[in-house]
Symmetry: C2
């Protein structure tokens, strides 16, 4: 069932039927209702391919997911982020196009998406410091919103980000208030922008209390259970071990907890831990009482917001860039307590 059939069946021209269905004013209300009814009755759905060609719009948004070829890790927050964004697209009649590509072919992927006219805009994931994608997308003229920020970028751009700096600043202060003096940072990879900001929040909070950051208490690695375990184990084995850990993710923290327990210590009593909790649906931080004290910000909600911003950018093509800074909440769980000897 296509427009033409529907039109002849109604004794109308395709033009009128099209206009009736798309809410144009120059069609009689009675006619419109007749058309609407017939469309519903015969279960008519306009062919997306035809609409796209005719209007020149893709009615689709691209998410390019680069997979680092060195360490083939998909970001664990990805599923929830996509779920959030997907809701927004569904509600607005947009399709979500996913491209999973090796990171060295990422640039050509964006260019092709544009040349082929496959999408109206894209979401930029996991921005790095001075991320080259910002200049690239500006250059090829593809609307985009960044999930996160890219410090040092010369050009303005749209973004939605968590205030990672403040979150880790607050978390560090919280540990300092509990009397911890040797606080370790188990950070994500520090070419990632969010990791840089978190470190700066941590370092600054220490500095504000006159404590110099100790390089031996800072690691930066993939946010996996194993990496968290190894980093924490190594630190706990030193002569002057940390009494608290600031950990970049729930998954890393599971490794940290394993190391703490392997060392015969008790988390929350001997060693405190604060994590950043992305509020992943499949990895909740406990229920009534959180397992980990955490800075929390829902990545799914971020997905929704990023998608909404992009659709808005596509629709209105604003000249000035839009920003949205989300604050993480600090929630108290069972993994923190006073520094040993201060109880």
């Amino acid at each position: 069932m296509n427009l033409k059939e529907l039109a002849t069946q109604l004794g109308l021209s395709p033009t009128t039927v099209s206009r009736a269905l798309n809410g144009y004013p120059e069609v009689n209300e009675a006619t419109r209702e007749r058309v609407m009814a017939a469309a519903k009755r015969s279960n008519y759905r306009p062919n997306t391919r035809a609409i796209r060609l005719a209007t020149g719009r893709a009615l689709a948004v691209g998410h390019v997911i680069p997979i680092a070829t060195r360490h083939e890790i998909v970001n664990p927050i990805f599923a929830d982020f996509i779920a959030g964004a997907g809701e927004t697209y569904s509600r607005n009649g947009y399709d979500m196009l996913l491209s999973v590509v090796a990171d060295e072919t990422e640039e050509t992927t964006y260019r092709e998406l544009k040349l082929r006219g496959a999408v109206d805009g894209v979401i930029v994931h996991s921005p790095r410091r001075e991320d080259p994608r910002i200049a690239l997308l500006n250059d090829i003229g593809l609307p985009f919103v960044v999930h996160g920020r890219a410090s040092g970028s010369a050009l303005p751009y749209n973004w939605v980000d968590v205030n990672n700096r403040r979150a880790f600043h607050r978390a560090t202060e919280f540990l300092l208030d509990l009397g911890h003096l040797r606080i370790a940072l188990i950070n994500g990879l520090e070419y990632m922008d969010f990791a840089l900001r978190r470190r700066s929040g941590y370092v600054d909070a220490l500095a504000a209390r006159g404590i110099a950051a100790d390089a031996r208490l800072m690691t930066s690695d993939q946010m996996t259970e194993v990496a968290g375990f190894q980093a924490a184990q190594a630190m706990l084995a030193t002569a002057d071990p940390p009494t608290a850990f600031l950990v970049a993710s729930m998954i890393s923290a599971m490794g940290v907890r394993r190391a703490i327990e392997a060392a015969g210590l008790v988390m929350g009593r001997d060693v405190s831990v604060i994590i950043h909790d992305d509020d992943l649906s499949y990895l909740k931080n406990g229920d009534a009482v959180p397992i980990f004290t955490a800075t929390r910000s829902s990545v799914r909600e971020a997905g929704r917001l990023v998608a909404e911003m992009l659709l808005d950018v596509i629709a209105t093509a604003p000249t000035a860039p839009t920003h949205r800074l989300l604050e993480a909440e600090l929630i108290i769980g069972q993994s923190t307590g006073p520094a040993p000897g201060r109880g």
Copy 2:
């Protein structure tokens, strides 16, 4: 730059240029090379929208991700599965279309995808027993491949699945061989087909040694850390606690481990644990020596295979359905040991 421009620029008709680029035989080799060169020079990419309309093919595959409205959990294996499938699509010039929908609107989503002509086929995720989607997709004539199986389905269908039954049968036998008699099953939700098969493997292996399954040692729930913790904690608190756990996922198992340690026991010594390991990129089961003894099967590889099968089905429209059964390997880690008192 479109076909017509390129054609006039070359002094050829659009027909010839199209044929030259698409490898049709009725064009002079010299002409073809000239066209190819010009296309590359002017960075020509055919407009996907136009190709789609002209050929009637969507050149896209749909993944419909239902989000259960009761418990809004995205499947943690999803990211890796998508990554695997995405690689296949990229290699073959297909787009991947993701629809995140509330599960009660799943049926209409499939219907719309078909009516709108948005995809050439779909992947069915997380099949349940007698999954209605199989009849539905047959009915609306949308090619599909199921990741998993749907026991009790009257109709034949294409699938790629892990031999869950055998995996859990072997794992149970392995624990029995170690002298464990009270083996608990922390299963996924048992309206999911994979969970049913796992339980049947477990129950049958026990029965083969003359052990009747004990309902108090079997739970079926969402595969989250918290659910794993609660289930294990409750069982360990009984008068006749299990000495071993068979756990459906890495994430559940982290909760089980937490419960074991909270009970003052040591995993691998006092209590054994075997998990099913989907080999998620962001949640590796240790490195050289696995943390958990596990039945392992890469879900990313499964994603690749499912996607390949679907593209094949789309291309060749075979009459008989295709199947692919993957065997999980049993890998020995640090979480299993002889039953206490049998050391």
